[in-house]
């Protein structure tokens, strides 16, 4: 719920969405430190523009889009980007099941063009149409990317998936 003053509203929005914004940035950058930097810079930009946001109900989408733009800006500036944060993967062992670790490895292997809509859908709770608007593409293209992302993940973590089962109707 957005509170009275613009500062309080922005602070509340940051606190409400910091986790999801960090995770989204992480799956874009695949690096925890870079993800935090991206979110911090994005929020600074967001903070400056916040008084101009007229639809406060859409703040979450707006913040996601700023994170995306900030990632692309940072990536363009730092041609060295592309490395996966091997150190950052240590956290995965702490709580993930063996299957979960396989899943996370599989996600790491996904191209960014597949991981990004997947993160927006699963973490952000956005529909294909909303993701299409955020990524400035068509809903059909998003559905295709999401389908391929899940197919790729299933191939990697569920080796038997993809084979047609007996009795399926087509």
């Amino acid at each position: 719920m957005i509170a009275s003053g613009p500062d309080a509203s922005f602070d509340e929005a940051v606190r409400a969405h910091a986790g999801d914004l960090f995770r989204y940035a992480y799956w874009l950058a695949r690096n925890r430190q870079q993800a935090e930097d991206i979110v911090q810079n994005a929020l600074l930009r967001g903070w400056r523009a916040f008084p101009l946001v007229r639809d406060r109900a859409a703040v979450k989408s707006w913040l996601f889009s700023i994170v995306k733009n900030e990632f692309h800006r940072a990536t363009a500036q730092d041609a060295r980007h592309a490395g996966v944060d091997v150190d950052g993967l240590e956290f995965a062992d702490e709580r993930a099941s063996p299957f979960g670790m396989e899943m996370r490895d599989a996600l790491m292997a996904l191209p960014a063009s597949y991981a990004e809509p997947l993160a927006l859908q699963v973490l952000g709770g956005y529909s294909c149409a909303e993701i299409a608007a955020l990524l400035q593409t068509t809903e059909g293209a998003v559905m295709t990317r999401l389908t391929r992302a899940r197919q790729a993940l299933k191939r990697l973590v569920l080796p038997t998936d993809g084979k047609e089962r007996k009795g399926e109707r087509s």
Binding site: G19, Y26, Q40, F91, A96, L146
Partner: protein, 227 residues
């Protein structure tokens, strides 16, 4: 719907539709597939939900500047206004002296269209109801809409105050209106510059600058707005 359609939509992750539900109830294979898929989605969510660094939200809030964004925006606006006033003044005086008959306010309106109109549009439009309320005493929206279609309306810094920037499509062309509820004009002023024509017209409260590429269209809009 068949099994292939069911699987295709399921993999897109957009949730189960009514048609999918109907198919699943009648298809034991897709019913099993949905159960497997739900387990897969759970693992997928867990894998995507990487741990967030401890104290991240607090750090992020603390990293924001101490001044409020509204205050910083006011500061930036004051700087912008000061710079715009100096620039508009210099341009206006220079052109006024050169041309002898151009109205400085009308010239400033042309300058706005040439330099700041795109920026104003990018800042986003205001809700119609709010615009109607703000302009009720100076130039009611219904009056504007009686002569054309409003494509954009938003407040913007102009001169020493705030103007309401309107992009209006009239049958002949596009014109820009700068409605200045707090800037009265004793009489109508006109200016031309760089192929553009502007006219500033007194209103019941404040004034309106009209800018277009054709003197005939601007004069026609000015006449209609005053009527």
């Amino acid at each position: 719907m068949n099994c292939l359609d069911f699987r295709r939509i399921l993999l897109s992750g957009d949730g189960e539709t009514g048609a999918m539900r109907e198919h699943r109830v009648a298809c034991v294979f897709c019913s099993d597939l949905l159960k497997e898929h739900a387990a897969f989605e759970g693992e997928l969510r867990s894998a995507l939900e990487v741990p967030v660094p401890a104290g991240l939200a607090d750090r992020l809030v603390e990293s924001l500047p101490a001044a409020s964004p509204a205050e910083e925006q006011r500061r930036n606006r004051r700087r912008f206004l000061a710079a715009a006033a100096v620039a508009a003044g210099a341009i206006g005086i220079g052109l006024y002296a050169w041309r002898g008959r151009d109205d400085p306010m009308a010239l400033a309106c042309i300058q706005f269209v040439m330099k700041d109109e795109a920026k104003s549009i990018m800042m986003g439009a205001m809700p119609r109801a709010e615009a109607a309320r703000m302009l009720a005493d100076s130039l009611p929206l219904e009056r504007i809409e009686s002569i054309g279609s409003i494509r954009h309306i938003a407040p913007c810094p102009f001169g020493e105050g705030t103007a309401y920037h309107v992009i209006l499509m009239v049958p002949q062309d596009k014109v820009t209106l700068l409605i200045m509820p707090d800037t009265p004009m004793p009489a109508r002023g006109r200016a031309t510059h760089d192929g553009m024509y502007a006219s500033v017209v007194p209103l019941r409260k404040g004034s309106v600058g009209i800018v277009g590429a054709s003197a005939a269209v601007v004069d026609s809009v000015a006449g209609a707005l005053r009527a």
